[in-house]
Each structure stands twice: as structure tokens, then as C-alpha cells.
């Protein structure tokens, strides 16, 4: 079963056997090459076509007669082979036979990866195309893809080598009769092989492809671009996934070393649950790593590795592991996020035994007895006592001063802690150890508290409330300034730290400065914010910028 192809020759319709068509087409292409440079070459070709048409008409017996390969070959024999015609045609042609045409740049679609640009360039430069491709690939990475534009430009501008003459020019072979003969023979052999080996539908498609209409070109361009894009995305996938996997492995190794060095109980401080940290690390490794393994195989596929890279079982296993790790880590995350859901406080009322003195002096005791401190994370400090026991140490201590409703000064210490349940929160709060010392008129407060390591990191704090009766005095040592709470009412409009270092008297619900200079001004900046204060006997202006934003306070005139 053979296909037939209808052609028009000198306005006459002929049906040709497919292979006969191919031979005739090649023949006419060769003739075109022979006569194209002759004056009136077009006329010659036209005349020859007319003659072929006449000869076909003589052969053709009926309307639906299909001209065979033999008949085409006979016609070609009658008309003369391109070599015969080239030889007889002109002396100028003969003169050309030993002359090598300068190489021309064509796209070699016989040696194509994408558009045949690299193949064409390799002929032009005279090296194997693999080197050109390698250089293009290197350029792609060093120019961040800029070479892609150049490639596409070349693809569009550089013509495809379709005729024998083009192909010879492309390779810089001397364009002489024997070479053309050789080339034609090669190609005819190739054609006949193709006809023998390839199924006809496929061949028909190839022929269709060769008809270079603009839409076909666009289609091919799109196809090529997709292929190109796929290639580059594949490379990117491979690079990203291999770097990520490498990073994950290095991270895991470093993590293991880290966990081996640090005592486990300290590591566990980072999480509220008793789930070993090493498991969390493993889950994170699996969740992050497995997608990159898949990305890697996808990259290989895009690079044209069509074989099965990973079996079905390992794939399913990896997928299962990933799902398991994801679920485990989610559960862990939910529990972890609930860890501080409930806040609870434990209050302790300090008996004020000696209230004879009018002035209470507040001093600070800094945690000097814990000389060995290890700061693990930002806010987490681990200390060891004389017995070698580890504790968590925190400086989250605040002192509030307000008017007492009674005649007696009152002192309460509140330990505030959080937990995933009320019980746990109270337990956490009660585990806080905070030390104060009240002796006569001196109150010595620690600027830190400790809690057992098992209570885990936790936004705990200690709040000291001092209730001062009307008419009583209080002096706060300068060193305690950092631990004063925000809204302590005072006549100077002082803010936190500046209250320290002065003697104050409780009058009408606020502290009245006893030793402040009447006119003062100053700028104070620390980690808590900025405080600008100008004041005299009659008026004051305070500008503060802190967590609460900008505040401008003016009093008096």
C-alpha cells in the first residue's frame, strides 16, 4: 500500500507515488542549484518543468494514473542528471569546481538538539557540535540565561540548510559536481532507507513538516521553546534539589554533633513537650528533604532521562514517610502552641513587721552568686548553684508602687506563669523561686528569679506590688531603676528608670519628689525608649517614646 501525492507541473495535475514524488522533488532541487546562478536560470527551470509535464502526460494513460518511481527515473534519465546538465551547462561552472565557497552559517537540522543552531555553528567554526553545546550551556549559567535570547535570535535569523547546496556551503565543502553527486547519492540513499524503514504516516508528517508555512514555523518555535524551557527548568530543579539535599545532610550532621555536645535536658528547654528534640529534627528533615528528592527525579525526567529513575515502592515509601512526618509535626505543633494557653499567678503577701520607720529604702540584689551562667538562646540563661544543680534564670522582674488603702504598707509578690492547663500554669508559677529581704526599713529585692529547668521556657514574670500609705516615704536605689514598672504616678512625671535615685513621699495618691531640683531638664535614652523631660516648680513637659508610642505630657502653665 502506497500513498500518492498530487502535484501541479506546468498547470497540469499529476498523481505521483510518494517515493516517486520525493525523487522528483530532490531532482528539481538539484537542478535549481545547478541553474540558479545562470542568467535566465528561472526560465530554464520553468522549461524543464514544462518538459517533465509533457513527458508525464505521454506516460499518463488515464485520469487517475499514478506515476511510479520507475517512470520518474526514466524521465530524469531522458532529461539528464543534474551532474550532466551542470557539466554541459557552462564553463563558468566548471571553473568553480575546485573553488571552495566561503562557509555560510546555516542551521543544521540534521544535527539538531533544539533548533540546529549549535550544529550550524559547529560547522561554521569547524569543531564538533558537542563543544558548541557545552559552551552554550556554560554561557547559559554565566549569563543567567541571556544566551537564550541570542539563541532564539539566531534560530529566527539563520536560515535552515535545506538544499544540498546549502548543506555543502554550511560545511564549506567545495561545491563541485562530484561532491554534489556524492551528496545527492547520500541523500537518496537516506530517502530510500527512510521509505523502507519508517511507516508512511510518519513520513507523510515529515513531509508536511517540511512545508515551511509561517504557522508551522511558529508551532515549531513554540515546541522548541517549550523543550528549551523544560531543559532549563530541569537543570534548575537538579541544581536546587541537590544543593538543598546537601544542605539538609550537612545540617543534620551538624545538628547531631550539636545535640551530642549539649546535655539533653538543656535541649529540651526549647520545647514544652517531652518529645525528644532529635525526633523533631528528624521530622523536619523528612518533610523538607523528601520533596527535593522528587524534584531531583523530576529534573532528571525533564533533562530527557525517560527511564524509570525510582521504583514504585520507594516512591510510595517516601510519600508515606512524608505524610507521617507531616502529621506528627502538626500534632506536635498544635500541642506546642497550646502549651502557654492558660496564664496563672501565685501571689504572696509579705508581712510588714516593722513599719515604725517612715522611709522604705529599696535596694537591688544582683545575681552575682551565680557566676557560672550559660546563655543558650536569646532570653534563656542557665545557671548552676553550689550544689551543681541547673536552673533557669530570668530577669523579668517589675516593681509597681501605688497608694495603700490602709495605713500599713503592703508588699505582694506575684509569680505569673503559663501552661497548657490551669494546673500546669499554677505548677509553673509555684516553681519560680524569687528571693527578697525585708529588714527594718530596707527592702532588698533580687533582680532575677530562678525556676527548674523542667518547667521549660515560658513567658513567666515576677511582679512586686508595693502599696505605700499616705505620708510615707520611699527611696529607690539607682541600680533598681531597670526593674521599675511603667505607670508609677509621680509629680515629676518621671518615667520608670528616672524615679530611681530619689526620695519620694506618697501624697494624694502620687509620689512627690523630695529631692528633685526645681527646674530640671534632661534626655534619657535606653533600651526601653526615649524620655525627654523639662520641668520647674510650676510646670513640666514630658515627651516619651516607648512601647506605648509617643506620649506628650504637659502640666502647669
Amino acid at each position: 500500500m502506497n500513498k500518492t501525492i498530487d502535484i501541479h507541473l506546468a498547470q497540469t495535475l499529476f498523481s505521483l507515488d510518494e517515493q516517486a514524488y520525493i525523487i522528483l522533488k530532490k531532482y528539481l532541487e538539484k537542478l535549481e542549484f545547478v541553474f540558479i546562478k545562470t542568467e535566465g536560470g528561472k526560465d530554464i527551470l520553468e522549461d524543464i518543468e514544462v518538459r517533465i509535464s509533457e513527458l508525464f502526460s505521454e506516460i499518463k494513460t488515464g485520469e487517475r494514473y499514478v506515476i511510479s518511481v520507475n517512470e520518474v527515473e526514466q524521465v530524469i534519465e531522458t532529461l539528464g542528471s543534474p551532474e550532466d546538465l551542470a557539466g554541459e551547462e557552462s564553463e563558468t561552472y566548471e571553473a568553480k569546481s575546485n573553488y571552495t565557497e566561503p562557509k555560510k552559517l546555516f542551521r543544521d537540522t540534521d544535527d539538531r538538539f533544539i533548533g540546529g543552531v549549535a550544529g550550524g555553528l559547529s560547522h561554521y567554526v569547524g569543531v564538533d557540535s558537542i563543544w558548541v553545546r557545552l559552551i552554550l550551556l556554560i554561557l547559559f549559567f554565566s549569563s543567567i540565561g541571556g544566551v537564550v535570547l541570542v539563541y532564539i535570535l539566531l534560530w529566527i535569523i539563520v536560515p535552515e540548510a535545506t538544499t544540498t547546496a546549502d548543506k555543502l556551503k554550511m560545511k564549506g565543502e567545495p561545491v563541485n559536481v562530484s561532491n554534489i553527486k556524492k551528496k545527492i547519492k547520500e541523500e537518496l540513499d537516506q530517502v530510500s532507507n527512510t521509505v523502507k524503514e519508517v511507516d508512511y504516516e510518519n513520513l507523510g508528517n515529515q513531509l508536511k513538516k517540511k512545508s515551511k508555512s509561517f504557522s508551522d514555523f511558529l508551532l515549531q518555535l513554540m515546541k522548541g521553546l517549550f523543550k528549551l524551557a523544560g531543559l532549563f527548568i530541569g537543570i534548575i530543579f537538579l541544581v536546587i534539589s541537590s544543593i538543598s539535599l546537601l544542605g539538609l545532610f550537612i545540617g543534620t550532621i551538624l545538628g547531631s554533633v550539636f545535640t551530642a555536645i549539649i546535655p539533653n535536658e538543656l535541649l529540651q528547654l526549647g520545647v514544652s513537650m517531652d518529645l525528644p528534640v532529635i525526633f523533631i529534627g528528624l521530622f523536619i528533615f523528612l518533610i523538607a528533604g523528601i520533596p527535593f528528592v522528587f524534584l531531583f527525579t523530576l529534573g532528571l525526567h525533564l533533562l530527557g532521562n525517560s527511564g524509570q529513575i525510582m521504583g514504585r515502592t520507594p516512591k510510595l515509601l517516601l510519600l508515606g514517610l512524608w505524610v507521617f512526618a507531616a502529621i506528627a509535626l502538626s500534632i506536635f505543633g498544635i500541642i506546642e502552641s497550646k502549651a502557654f494557653a492558660v496564664t496563672s499567678k501565685k501571689s504572696e503577701l509579705i508581712e510588714w513587721e516593722n513599719n515604725a520607720a517612715d522611709t522604705l529604702k529599696i535596694y537591688v540584689n544582683e545575681h552575682q552568686k551565680y557566676s557560672e551562667t550559660v546563655t543558650l538562646f536569646n532570653d534563656l540563661t542557665i545557671v548552676e548553684n553550689e550544689l551543681g544543680e541547673s536552673y533557669r534564670l530570668d530577669n523579668n522582674v517589675r516593681l509597681y508602687i501605688e497608694k495603700s488603702k490602709e495605713d500599713q504598707p503592703g508588699l505582694t509578690i506575684e509569680k505569673i506563669a503559663k501552661g497548657w492547663s490551669q494546673k500546669k500554669a499554677i505548677k509553673n508559677a509555684s516553681e519560680i523561686t524569687y528571693v527578697h529581704d525585708l529588714f527594718n526599713d530596707q527592702l532588698v529585692l533580687d533582680n532575677f528569679w530562678i525556676s527548674p529547668i523542667s518547667s521549660k521556657t515560658n513567658p513567666e514574670k515576677v511582679v512586686i506590688n508595693l502599696a505605700l500609705p499616705e505620708g510615707k516615704y520611699v527611696f529607690i536605689d539607682n541600680d533598681f531603676g531597670d526593674y521599675l514598672a511603667k505607670k508609677i504616678k509621680n509629680d515629676q512625671g518621671y518615667y520608670r528608670k528616672r524615679i530611681a535615685g530619689h526620695l519620694w513621699k506618697m501624697e494624694r495618691g502620687e509620689l512627690v519628689c523630695q529631692d528633685c531640683e526645681s527646674t530640671k531638664g534632661g534626655l534619657h535614652i535606653d533600651e526601653n525608649g526615649l524620655e525627654l523631660n523639662i520641668s520647674d516648680d510650676d510646670s513640666s513637659l514630658d515627651i516619651t517614646i516607648d512601647d506605648n508610642g509617643l506620649q506628650i505630657k504637659k502640666s502647669g502653665d
Partner: protein, 108 residues
Amino acid sequence: MNIENTKAQMRKGILELCILSTIDKKPKYSSEILNRLKESKLLVVEGTLYPLLTRLKNAELLEYRWEESNAGPPRKYFTITKEGKSFLKELNSSWSDLSIAVTTLIKK
């Protein structure tokens, strides 16, 4: 020395003379010219004729006009020009000179 090549060169030299002679009496279209030349075994392959016709046309020794035909496509009818006629005359006399000269030379 390639004998085929020599023969081709010899034929080529006199082909122009022969083509012009065939259309000297009356206009002919290319297939008619071809048949005449093939009868006299002057033409090995038909394809050779067309470049020659074109060359003669370019030298304005002949001209052609299109004529519709009953069977097949329109045909090119070739007519000899004035220049062609005088050229042919020249060629004819030189050919008879040459043929006499060559024949006598070979016979001796």
C-alpha cells in the same frame, strides 16, 4: 583525457548552429526542437537544450512567444531573430569550412 567530455564539448560547439537551423524555416516549440535534435542523435539528454535556448535568447538570436495548446500547458514558440539569421549564416559558412577541413584532414 575523458572521451565523453570531449564528445560533449564537440556537440556543444555545434548545438547552437543546429538549434538555430531547426527554427530557421518556421517557429517551433521546444519539444519539436528536441525531437529534431534527438533524431540526429545530437542530444544525449534533453535537459541540455534549455540552458542553450535561454543563452541564445539572452544573446537575442532568438525570441519566443507563448501559444495555447490543445493538449497540456501553453507552449513556448521559438522564432529566429534578424541577428539570429545573420549569426546562423556566419555559423553555416564556418561550419562548412570546418567540416571540409576536418574531413580532408582526417581522410589523409
